[in-house]
Symmetry: C2
Subunit: 180 residues, 2 copies
């Protein structure tokens, strides 16, 4: 049996940044270690808001020492002004992880939905219900950013192993090819 | 005469980030203190690229101790995938400034062009020619990101004072209003 992975997952945003730490491995019960939402006031300038998020993320990484930081991949199709803030908040999360030498993995919202519910088109309520069930919680953490971060962490634990095995197989095939 | 302002200006980008430090005040000759371009390899993951930019920006802020950090405002109208990288790089610049308690000011490309050449629709060559002239350089620094950063720094020095005076007048008027 492989040792469990501890994932810190970030649902990025300037106003609310969802943060979830989940530990587990494929085929074993998952454990919720931590869940939180970092908030910054809308009347603060962007630079200071990013700095506050950095402080919260730095604290979370130091405290929980994750093996992987998973960040929701920002969608360029969405509302453009929201996307900018989301991209900036995700940059801070990636930066803090890189500073601690922790690998960063990105997943799209539909990858998360598919991993957790079996359908990439599941709605928020279905995702929340599965998060509650998989982590054996009394109810879904509020606001929804917190639940979304937990869903992302679960997605990373379940897909991460497969991603790594695919990458390793691919790298091995390339090495074999180059030896011919 | 007011004491000169030292501005560190950032033309943000993941592949090339232009960085210029200019010192001066309105109506006095400007002085170029530093110009550089930070580069990160495209085959590195985004998290590590942002971390490298952070290290370069951190070094520049420590070394040059700017009074203001000016960052080019990211345009949402442009190519969306480029915008994401630019938004993320600008987040790192803002974050580093905020961490050092340095104010961040944003200017759009057309504000920079208008400040430096008198026309918001000036082309790259006109901007470069004015940067060379105003900073008494032998030629425009290459690549263009470096020259753009210097133009942004000049814009901040020239517009910054006016912005502050307007803000002060506005704040004073509000105080007066609240005393009635």
């Amino acid at each position: 049996m492989r040792s469990p992975t501890r994932v810190l997952a970030v649902d990025p945003g300037l106003t609310r940044l969802g943060l979830g730490v989940v530990q587990g491995s494929v085929g074993r019960p998952l454990e919720m270690v931590h869940v939180d939402v970092l908030r910054t006031p809308a009347d603060l300038d962007t630079a200071r808001r990013l700095h506050r998020l950095e402080q919260g993320l730095e604290e979370a990484v130091r405290l929980h020492r994750p093996h992987v930081v998973a960040v929701e991949r920002v969608f360029s199709q969405n509302n453009v002004s929201t996307v900018m803030g989301t991209a900036q908040a995700s940059a801070v999360a990636m930066l803090v992880a890189a500073r601690h030498g922790v690998d960063v993995k990105l997943h799209t919202p539909s990858e998360v939905k598919a991993a957790v519910t079996g359908s990439g088109r599941a709605d928020k309520a279905q995702v929340a219900a599965m998060v509650v069930r998989l982590l054996r919680l009394a109810e879904a953490p509020k606001p929804v950013d917190a639940t979304d971060a937990l869903a992302l962490a679960i997605c990373q634990i379940w897909r991460g192993g497969a991603q790594n095995r695919l990458q390793q197989a691919h790298a091995a095939a390339q090495r074999k090819e180059s030896l011919r």
